[in-house]
Symmetry: C2
Subunit: 416 residues, 2 copies
């Protein structure tokens, strides 16, 4: 392994983080935020090198681009992380046994967290600040498209760390190569947790190839079920918000499931979608209900591929079902277990939906667009987990800590 010395250095540096207080950490975060502003010209000029290599028509171009305003917003996010309560040193459980042994479960950092991401240089600042706040060292593997930007950002962070006499290896940026990714995926001895952030291809690749523990983030195939007893006004607002607030994010609506007894309300439920030019791929009953009541150029007959698809675009499918069980079956089959919603005034149906739907976030009469760490009041977000192990849904500082058991005795021994 070519990167073994890098990995060793990060692991070694992670031990130094155990000696910092939350106050120390917050001081560093503020200094990094200041540096991000002070070094705006340097960061933007390096960012320009990356932008020059990319076609502005590429949808990645906008995500890659940094501006003075974006750096200000990044700095303000870093300062916000400093205001959050420390996730470390919390006693999660406490118990004194009859023999006098005192057993405590206490939150601690993971140690070293690896992040694999694509062409979004803001992630470098973002991940560093969340990892530092939670006492973790981090190994970043960014996309090659953003390499100059990422190097500039890490350079700025390293300068701050040196100023505080901290080991700069608490954050390392790997070469933007496939070889580096391959080594990181198997660095079991050095990396405690791996979080891939980006396209579903990237996440799939990491899941298939990593031998270190992974938290999957991302892909959201989200349904909204409009029940027989759904409120029309609420449903109209919820569907429009879930689909059109931001189509490029994972919590956006992909499929509306409508109860057959409410097909006559479909035109009204979908009316605001036409303003955003949302293309609707409807099954036969829904198509019939919408024909003549929705712009014909935006209305298509659904094919099998339109179900179970994450559109990430002004596009959605509609499925008709004859019962809540039908909706549950459709969701069970096609959901990516991210965010699912029911619109109903019937509390029994709402409770059934909440119990039966297997997803990170289950909504009653509110749009899936709320799935977000900040919206949930978590203060920050490192990703949205779509797996069930360790963390589910929005992940914030608590979710990038683990715990240890501390057992204090006075010479007790265990009987046979």
């Amino acid at each position: 392994m070519n990167l073994i010395h890098t990995f060793e250095a990060v692991q070694e540096a992670s031990l130094q983080l155990l000696e910092l207080t939350d106050k120390d950490i917050n001081k560093i975060l503020h200094a990094v935020a200041d540096a991000a502003i002070e070094q705006t010209d340097f960061i933007l000029s390096e960012n320009l090198k990356d932008l020059d290599r990319m076609n502005p028509a590429n949808p990645k171009y906008d995500r890659l681009k940094l501006t003075k305003e974006r750096l200000q917003s990044i700095a303000s996010d870093i300062r916000n992380v400093a205001t959050l309560p420390s996730p470390l040193g919390r006693t999660l459980k406490e118990n004194t046994l009859p023999n006098g042994l005192r057993i405590r479960r206490v939150s601690v950092p993971f140690g070293v967290i690896g992040i694999i991401y694509e062409a979004r240089p803001n992630v470098s600042f973002d991940v560093f600040s969340l990892c530092l706040k939670s006492g973790n060292a981090c190994i970043l593997k960014g996309g090659s498209d953003a390499d100059c930007s990422n190097r500039a950002i890490i350079h700025v962070i390293h300068q701050v760390l040196k100023h505080f006499q901290l080991n700069p290896h608490i954050v390392e940026l790997l070469p933007a190569t496939h070889e580096a990714t391959a080594e990181l995926l198997h660095a079991n001895q050095y990396v405690d947790l791996l979080i891939p952030r980006g396209s579903s291809n990237l996440i799939q690749f990491v899941r298939q190839n990593a031998t270190i523990p992974v938290i999957e983030t991302g892909a959201g195939i989200c349904h909204t079920y409009f029940d027989k007893e759904g409120d029309l006004q609420k449903g109209t607002a919820i569907i429009n918000n879930a689909k059109t607030r931001r189509v490029s994010v994972c919590n956006a609506l992909d499929c509306l499931i409508v109860h057959a007894k409410r097909l006559h309300d479909l035109p009204q439920l979908c009316a605001p979608l036409a303003n955003s030019h949302v293309i609707i791929c409807a099954d036969a009953p829904a198509y019939a209900a919408l024909q003549g009541n929705y712009p014909q150029e935006l209305l298509k007959m659904a094919t099998d591929q339109d179900f179970g698809t994450e559109f990430l675009d002004y596009k959605m499918s509609i499925k008709t079902c004859s019962s809540i069980e039908g909706a549950l079956n459709h969701i069970q089959h096609y959901s990516s277990k991210h965010s699912e919603c029911i619109v109903t005034e019937n509390p029994t149906n709402a409770a059934l939906f909440c119990r039966k739907v297997d997803a990170a976030c289950v909504y009653v009469n509110a749009p899936t667009s709320f799935t977000d760490g900040a919206q949930f009041g978590l203060g920050a977000e490192i990703g949205i987990s779509t797996q069930k192990l360790h963390a589910r849904g929005p992940m914030a500082l608590e979710e990038i800590t683990t715990y240890k058991w501390i057992i204090e005795g006075n010479g007790q021994i265990r009987k046979p």
Copy 2:
């Protein structure tokens, strides 16, 4: 995949578990315990078929063997699981946002848990009862040595499930073949969590090959550090208990680290070990301190291989260090992050040890032999996790649940 229909059937059956109350579950557990006793003759006769194929000198023979008494103890363990509080439906977090959205984090089953284990048929009952109590369906892949025993046990459980009109697919035993293991490791669509239980080779194999989330259990390379300010009497009892209570378990002491200033106390610290014929592989200073004070036939010069080894036998190594930092470095290098202990009367050293040692369980003045779900007051144990993701140390019912976020609104929408 040949087993795809089995996996589908288990996933389908897991949904039925969501409809059971804790009272229902406890009734089934009691019925399974009763059946284990009533069908003792059948289970033992099938167990005999497995035993007949194995050489009684094989260390696995004893683990494979079931007896009337062992079945009674198994039944009593199952009844004990029924007495534990349900881990399901607990509100872990609750928050009402200014816009009126009510957000709750509620504990729920994983869904389907896969367990890969070796020749211990009691694990079949054990895992089934813990999975049922936590609302999970389970897929068991037992070792071929125990196949007749496992089939008999699952047959008995299936009879009980049928009596309760429950879908028997909530527990399935896979064929005891490598092909079945290979399919299980990649059943991402059907299995939510995989727990390997057994030798470190098995665990390593699963870690390297599984694409579904895994919790590693098992291997414990455990150290006890006797500090410069350690109490001699406590240390003597702790070291003897940690090494000799049961040598075949993962929490047993493998390496004693002794402060150089206390080498003169080594003969007394090790005296009780001679009664159990513990072989000591000592480094040069420790060897010199013990020579003439410990049975010569049990004393060996340590080689490099004696450090970082899980002995699982009446054997241990001794390392001398000149400071607590030396002990911490040795542990950092060789520990499997399972259980580590310091014997000291100095609270600063105890605190430093607790902060710096990266292990599931960190002990002060108590032996590592306490690492056990029942000892920790967790009521049951499905394994001891040696990873940091999701669960660390003893895992009980809570650790085989996940959570979902339930968000209840009244038509709120998210602003841009």
